[in-house]
Symmetry: C2
Subunit: 113 residues, 2 copies
C-alpha cells in the first residue's frame, strides 16, 4: 500500500452511497450481494450504482464475480486491512501500539479450517 493506492481507496469510500454500499458488503460477508439487490437496498438507479461499484472495484475494495446472470459483489477484507494498517502505520511515533486491523478474509461461519 502506498499513498496513491490509499488515496484511491479513501476517495472510493468518501461518498455517502459508496460508504453505505461498502459497509453493506462488509456485513453481507463472503456470500456477497448481486448488483440488483444492492441497488434496491440503497434506492439508487442501477446506472448510478454501477458507477459507484466501478469506483470501489477500481480502488480494489470490492471483488466481482459472475453467478449466472447476476454479478455478485463482495468486500475485499484484505484491501480494507491494508488501508487501515497504512493509516495507522506510524501511529504513536512508530511504537508498536497494538494490532491495527484484524479482519480476516475467512469467515467464521463459512471457513473450512
Amino acid at each position: 500500500m502506498n499513498t496513491v493506492n490509499a488515496v484511491a481507496a479513501l476517495a472510493a469510500l468518501a461518498q455517502e452511497h459508496r460508504l453505505t454500499l461498502f459497509r453493506l458488503l462488509v456485513k453481507a460477508g463472503e456470500s456477497g450481494m448481486p448488483a440488483g439487490e444492492i441497488a434496491q437496498t440503497l434506492g439508487v438507479p442501477s446506472s448510478s450504482l454501477s458507477f459507484h461499484l466501478a469506483q470501489l472495484r477500481n480502488a480494489g475494495l470490492i471483488l466481482q464475480e459472475r453467478q449466472h446472470r447476476s454479478l455478485i459483489y463482495r468486500a475485499n477484507y484484505q484491501a480494507m486491512n491494508g488501508l487501515v494498517a497504512f493509516l495507522l502505520e506510524n501511529c504513536c511515533a512508530g511504537t508498536d501500539c497494538g494490532p491495527a486491523a484484524a479482519c480476516d478474509t475467512a469467515h467464521p461461519e463459512r471457513k473450512s479450517a
Copy 2:
C-alpha cells in the same frame, strides 16, 4: 461516528496532500507541527496548505493550538480510531474478530503514567 461524519473524515483523507499531511502529523505525535513547517515539508503554498488544514480540522481529524505566533497542528488519534472502528464495524458479519484500532492518544515517550 455515523455515516456523515465518516464520509467527511474519509473525504478529508482522500487527497494526496492531505493524506501525506495527516500521516506526517501522526508521525509527529503529541508535539505536533506548526503550519509553516508543514508547508515547507510538503512543498505546498501556505494558502493551499491552510485550505487543506481546514478540511482536516473540519473533519475532526486534527487539532489546532496556538503557540505564540505559530499555529500548532497535531493528529487526533481518537478521531482516527473512531473512523477505523466504524469502517470495520460489522466486519466478519458482526463476529468479534479482534480489536479494530489500537492507537491511544497518550504517547509512550510523553505520557506520565
